[in-house]
Symmetry: C2
Subunit: 691 residues, 2 copies
C-alpha cells in the first residue's frame, strides 16, 4: 500500500535499470511546471497542454494523513483509497460499532462523519524562491546553514499566506536543494467520511497479497470536503468514467509521491543499506510480532490492532524491498556508474568543477558521524515513543510551549507559525486512545532504547531510573490524562506555565528527555544533515548543468504527474495480464482470513457482472503517498485510484524499471458496479455519474 | 551466551584485524593434534606437553544440547553453565515447581534428576580418514559427490564403533574438507541435574547485559554422569581451584566451539550478508516480538516462555553482531585481501594451480543457485516447523520410518545407523510440550512460509489448503498426540506401517510436506552444497600448501583448545578492567527485572565477601558451543567456566581481533563462595575441593 508514511521499495531478485540522469521511458514523478509533454506526445501521440495541466491540478487533492485523492463531483466529493481513511474509520468506531470490519455507508449527507485530524489541500500556486534562500544562507555551513535556511523558510511561509486561515503555505526543497519553491494550498480542515467498504473487501488477501498482483481489492473510499458546515462547491472536479480501461491506454497519475531517494550519493545509499534500513526493519519486525500476538488475544484486541498492524506490515514489506534493492550488486553498480558519469561531466568542465567542488566527498565524510550518532538520534528523537499517541502529544505539547515562547524564525521549524494550525488540529481533535496499545508501544520503545544504547547510557538512565521498561510504561499509561482532548487543550493553551505545573507522568517524561533529545538533534544537524544538505545543493546544480531539465526531482509529498500506459509485464518467462475481474475474486476466496469474503459480497455474487474489471496495472512511476491518486486518461477522465505497486516496484525509492515496475489501480468500473449492486449506494453513484 | 545452536557474531563499530592465514597472537581454536605449543611457550613461557593435552582431553566433556563442560570430581561431577541446563530445569518443572525461577538444589545424590534428551560425551580417539574419503568420492561432483561422501561417512562411523553402545563415532569434516577424521567418544546417556542457581542469578542483567561486560552472572551449573544407575568413576577430572585468577595469568579453554565461518570465500560471505542473515534476523525478530507479548499474558505464560525467549534473544544478538561485521567495509576488505593473497600464492605455483583449479569461481557460481533456492530451502526444510517440538517429532518419525527401511549407506546421513541411538533418545525421552507455545511456533512458521513463498506457491497450497496459518496451527495442536512419549514410541517402533496408519494430523502434515521438502533438499545439494563442499576441499589444500600447519580449522563442535590470558581491553579510549566482584552485583541491582536479585542473594548480602572475583575476561578465541568450557591454567587447574563473549567478539564467526575480542568467564572463586554461603551446598563444595 502506498500511504506516504509507509513509502515503498525493489524486485527481490530483479535486474534494475537505473537511469544515469535523463529519465527512461515512463520514468519520473514530474512537477507540473516541468512536465515532459513533448516526450509524452512522441511516445503516446497525446498532447498535454497548460489547460489540461491546470484542470488536473485543480482537481487533485492532498490528504495530510499521507495520501492523495481527487475531486469527483461538484459538491466536494473526493475519491481516494480505503487504506487512506481506515484510520478515520477506526477512530469513529468503538467496542460496539466497527466501521473497519463492517464498512461505512451513508444514505444521506447528514450521515457523513468528520474524520479526526484529517485535512485536505489543493495546490493553488507555486513561486520560485531559490535565489532568496541562497541569499539567506550564503557562506553558511553546518548548523548555521540549517538555522538560516529554516528561518528563511519560516519567514517565506508566513509572508506568502499572510495569515489567511483558508490557506497553507510550505517552502518545498526540490532536487535536494537545487530549487526552493513556495507551494500555496487552499486547505479544508473539515473532511467527512462518505463511504468505506469492509476491511476484508478493501484489503482482500491481506498482507500476503500486498504488493503482489493479480489483486482483487476494492481499495476505495469517498470523503467530502466541508466548509462552514456545508459541502464545498467544486466545479473543477474530474469526470468519473465508469467504463473499464483498455490495454495500452495512456494513463496519467496526479498525486503526491511521499519521498524517494533516487538522488542520494552512493555513500548515502551504503549507509541506508548497512545501518538505517536493517535497524529499522529489525525493530519493526519485533513490533509486528508483538502486535500479531496482541491481536490474537480476543476480538476487541483484534479490532484495536487491525489498523496499526496493517501499517507496520505494509512498512515492513516496503523496507524489505528497499533493503534487497540495495543488497543487489547490479543495482548498486548501476548507481555507482551514474554517479561516476555525473562526476566525470563536472570534472570535464573546469569552471563547473570550481563551482561544484567535491560534495560527494563531503557527504561521504558525513557518513562517519551518521554511523556514530544514528542509534541515539533514532531512539531519542526520530522514533521516540514508537507509535505511542500520548507520548507524541506530550512531546509536541512540551515543545510547542517552549518554542511558541520564541519568535517564529528561531523555533524548531515544525513549530513555525505556518505549521501551527495543522499541528493544533492534530493535537486537539478528539481521537480514541487505547491504553493497552499505548502500553505496548511504550514498553517496546523503552526496551529497544535500552537494548540499542545499553543500560549504562546516560539517557537510558534518565528515562528508566530504577524502573523496568514494562513497569514504567504501565505507570505512564495509568497516570496520563493526555487521552482526553480537554486536557490537551488546557496544556496547549496554557503554554509553558501549564506544562511546568503539570503532574502528568507523560508530560514529565517528555520534559525529562527533552534536553538529551534536543542535544542529539543539534549534533545531528551540525554533523550530518547540515553538511549533507549543503553538499546536495551543489550536486543538484551539477545535475542541472549536465542534464538540463530532463531530470525530475526526488519526491517530496507535493503534486507530481507521471505518465504511462495500461500494461502487464513479463518476468522470468511468466506474463502477468494487466486486468483482474470480479470472477477472480470469487475464485481466490477460501473462507479463511485474509481470503474471506465480506458477507455483502457473498450475498451479491449472483447480481454482479463477473467480467467487471476490478484492479489493473499501469507503467506509471509512483511511490508511497500516491495512494488514492486519480489515474486518468488523455481526456482527464478518471479510470481508477492508484493503491499499490507490484513486488518489483518495491525498489522504487531508489530507481525505476519500466519493464517490470507497475502501479496497481482499483478501477472506477469496479467501484461503480460495487457501489450500486453490493452496497446500494445509489445516491453516490448518481452524484458520480451525473453529467 | 555461547550455546552452540546460537553461535556468536563482530564489534558493532570496531575495526577488524583479520589474519590472512597464519593465526594472530592468541587466535585459533586448535585441534589437540595440532596445538601450537611452541608459539604458546614463546608467548607465555608455558610448556604444554602431550601428557597435559591428554589429561585435559580426558576431562573435557561435550553436551549434546550444544555445550561444553568438564569433569571436576572423581564421581562423575560435571561443571558447566546454567544456560546449558536451563532447558533441563524447564523440563523438570511444571505449573507448581519452577526450577528455572527458583534454582535446583540437592541435599543428597538421590535428589539428582535425569535431564531428558541430554547426553554427555568424552573424546577418546581420533583417526585420519582423509585418504579413504578421497578414494570414495574420486571423480564425483554435485549430488553424486554428496551421496558418495555421506555413504562413506556412515560406513566409517559404523565400522569404527562396531556397534558398541557405550561409544559414539562421528566423521568430522575439518578445514571444510581439507581433512576428514573419525572422532570416537565415550558416551553417557544418563545425565542428572545436581545444582542450578536461579535464572535471575545466572542471567542477572538479562538480554540488555548479554554479550556485554562488566557482568555479574553466576552462569554455572553441575550435572553428574551416571551409568547403570550409579555415578561413574572419573579419576581423570580437573582440579578445582577456588582462588581467583590473576591479571595476565595464562588461560586455556578446552571445549567444543560450535561453528565458525572464517574460511568462507568472499562470495559466500556476501550471500550471508545480503540474504541468509537478514532473512533469518527479520523472522527471528518477529518471533521474539510474539514471544515477548505471549510471556506478558500471565505468570504461567512467562514461566513457559522464559527459556525459549532467552534462546531467541541470544541468537538475535549473535546474528546482529555477525550482520554488522559483514556490513563493515574494512572487515570485508580484509577478507578480500586474505583471499587475494591465497589465490596469488596458488597462481605463482603452476603445479599447485593445476591441482587447485578455480574453486573460488565455482563457489561464486553456486551463489546464484543459493539465491534462487534459499527461501524455499529454508522454509520447507532447514527451518521447517520453526521451534515446534511436535512438528520436529513428526518429521523425524516420518523420515526415520522411511529411511530405516533402506540400507544405512543409502539413507539421509542423519538417519545412518551411527546416529540413531541419540535420535531415539531425543525423540523418546519424556519432555513436557506446551500446546500454546506449539501453536505460536506453528502459526508463525506457516504464516512466514506463505509470506516468503507467496500464497500461490504449490508447497504453500499443499501446507494450507483452504485453512489459514492460525486455523491450521490450532487444529494440528488440538489433534496431535505426539506430546505423549508412549505414542512416539509406538510410531518409532511401528515404522512405516504405523506411520501410514496414523491419523495424527501432525504426522499427516509431515507426510504431506515431505516430498516437496526432500525435492528442495536434493536441489540444494545438487546445485549449492555439493559444488560448494567439493570446491572447499581444494581451497583447503591450497591453504595447507601456502601456509602449512599454521592454520586451524573452522569450528565444528568438536574438541578444541584455545590459549590466551586474563586481560581487560581498551576501546575508544575507555579501558575495561578484567574482573568484577560480588560488590558490583549489589551496586547494579535495581529491584526491577532483569536487575532484580534472587531472594537468596538479598538474604546473603552480609555473609558474602564483597571482594570475591565474580566474572572475568580473557583473550581466548572461542565461540558458541564453548559455553561451559573449563577455563584452566598452566597446571590444568580450573579457574572458571566460559559463558559469553564481549560485544566486540560478536564477529568471531568470521574473524578474531585479539585487541578487543574477549571471552567472559564465571570464576570458580565465585562459584565456591556462592555454593557455600548463598546455597548451603556444603556436600558439593566438599566434593569439589577434596584433594
Amino acid at each position: 500500500m502506498l500511504r506516504k508514511t509507509l513509502g515503498r521499495a525493489v524486485a527481490l531478485a530483479a535486474a534494475f535499470a537505473v537511469s544515469a540522469a535523463p529519465a527512461l521511458a515512463d520514468e519520473g514523478m514530474w512537477t507540473f511546471d516541468n512536465f515532459p509533454a513533448a516526450k509524452v506526445q512522441g511516445a503516446y501521440g497525446v498532447k498535454i497542454d497548460q489547460k489540461w495541466l491546470d484542470r488536473v491540478q485543480a482537481a487533485s487533492v492532498r490528504l495530510t494523513s499521507g495520501c492523495s485523492a481527487s475531486l469527483v463531483s461538484k459538491d466536494g466529493l473526493v475519491f481516494t483509497n480505503h487504506h487512506c481513511v481506515v484510520d478515520c474509520a477506526q477512530s469513529l468506531s468503538d467496542g460496539k460499532t466497527d466501521y473497519v470490519r463492517d464498512g461505512f455507508l451513508t444514505a444521506a449527507r447528514t450521515e457523513e462523519k468528520k474524520c479526526p485530524g484529517m485535512q485536505a489541500e489543493v495546490l493553488v500556486g507555486v513561486t520560485d524562491l531559490t535565489a532568496d534562500i541562497a541569499r539567506a544562507t550564503a557562506g553558511k555551513t553546518g548548523l548555521d546553514f540549517v538555522k538560516a535556511r529554516d528561518a528563511a523558510r519560516g519567514a517565506a511561509e508566513t509572508v506568502a499566506c499572510g495569515g489567511d486561515p483558508a490557506f497553507r503555505c510550505q517552502l518545498v526543497t526540490l532536487y535536494r536543494g537545487g530549487q526552493y519553491k513556495l507551494y500555496k494550498y487552499r486547505k479544508y480542515a473539515d473532511v467527512r467520511l462518505v463511504f468505506a467498504p469492509e476491511f476484508a473487501t478493501a484489503f482482500f488477501g491481506g498482507d500476503p497479497d500486498n504488493f503482489n498482483f493479480p489483486r482483487f481489492n476494492l481499495d476505495t473510499a469517498f470523503v467530502r470536503l466541508y466548509e462552514d458546515g456545508k459541502p464545498i462547491s467544486s466545479p473543477q472536479h474530474l469526470i468519473w468514467q465508469s467504463r473499464a480501461p483498455k490495454a495500452g491506454e495512456v494513463t496519467f497519475v496526479s498525486g503526491n509521491p511521499g519521498g524517494t531517494d533516487r538522488m542520494l550519493t552512493v555513500a548515502q545509499l551504503e549507509t541506508q543499506r548497512d545501518l538505517a534500513l536493517p535497524v529499522g526493519q529489525l525493530q519493526r519486525s519485533e513490533l509486528r510480532g508483538r502486535l500479531i500476538e496482541f491481536s490474537g488475544r480476543d476480538a476487541e484486541s483484534k479490532r484495536i490492532a487491525t489498523d496499526p498492524l496493517f501499517g507496520v506490515e505494509n512498512s515492513f514489506k516496503v523496507y524489505y524491498g528497499r533493503q534487497f534493492a540495495l543488497n543487489d550488486r547490479a543495482f548498486m553498480d548501476a548507481k555507482r556508474a551514474a554517479e561516476a558519469d555525473l562526476r566525470a561531466k563536472v570534472a570535464a568542465d573546469p569552471r563547473l568543477a570550481a563551482d561544484i567542488g567535491d560534495p560527494w566527498g563531503e557527504i561521504a565524510k558525513a557518513q562517519t558521524a551518521y554511523g556514530d550518532r544514528y542509534l541515539r538520534y533514532r531512539q531519542l528523537e526520530q522514533a521516540a515513543g514508537s507509535l505511542s499517541e500520548t507520548f507524541t502529544y506530550a512531546r509536541e505539547l512540551v515543545r510547542a510551549a517552549q518554542e511558541r515562547a520564541k519568535p517564529s524564525a528561531e523555533r524548531l521549524p515544525e513549530y513555525g507559525d505556518a505549521g501551527l494550525a495543522l499541528m493544533a488540529k492534530e493535537i486537539l481533535d478528539e481521537q480514541p486512545v487505547d491504553p493497552t496499545l499505548e502500553q505496548l508501544y511504550l514498553a517496546f520503545w523503552l526496551s529497544k532504547t535500552r537494548e540499542y544504547l545499553t543500560t549504562d547510557d546516560a539517557a537510558v538512565k534518565l528515562l528508566l531510573g530504577k524502573e523496568s521498561p514494562e513497569g514504567l510504561a504501565a505507570r505512564l499509561v495509568a497516570g496520563t490524562k493526555l487521552g482526553d482532548p480537554a486536557e490537551r487543550k488546557r496544556l496547549w493553551e496554557g503554554g509553558l506555565a501549564a506544562i511546568a505545573a503539570s503532574d502528568d507522568p507523560m508530560i514529565q517524561l517528555a520534559l525529562r528527555l527533552d534536553p538529551a533529545a534536543r542535544a542529539v538533534r543539534t549534533a545531528w544537524e551540525t554533523e550530518v544533515s547540515g553538511p549533507t544538505d549543503r553538499a546536495a545543493e551543489r550536486i543538484a546544480r551539477a545535475r542541472f548543468a549536465a542534464y538540463g531539465d530532463a531530470v525530475y526531482p526526488d519526491a517530496t509529498f507535493t503534486l507530481r504527474l507521471s505518465y504511462g500506459k495500461v500494461a502487464g509485464w513479463t518476468y522470468r518467462g511468466v506474463t502477468i495480464p494487466p486486468f483482474t475481474t470480479f470472477a477472480g475474486l470469487y475464485e481466490r476466496a477460501t473462507g479463511a482470513d485474509p481470503y474471506k469474503l465480506a458477507p455483502r459480497w457473498e450475498a451479491a455474487k449472483g447480481k454482479l457482472n463477473p467480467d467487471t474489471v476490478f484492479d489493473f496495472v499501469t507503467t506509471n512511476d509512483i511511490i508511497g503517498g500516491n495512494s488514492g491518486s486519480p489515474v486518468i486518461n488523455a481526456k482527464a477522465e478518471i479510470l481508477g485510484a492508484a493503491f499499490d505497486g507490484n513486488i518489483h516496484s518495491l525498489g522504487g525509492d531508489y530507481g525505476y524499471d519500466g519493464a517490470i515496475n507497475r502501479t496497481v489501480v482499483v478501477a472506477t468500473s469496479a467501484a461503480t458496479e460495487a457501489l450500486e449492486k453490493v452496497y446500494g449506494q445509489t445516491a453516490l453513484v448518481k452524484e458520480l455519474t451525473r453529467k
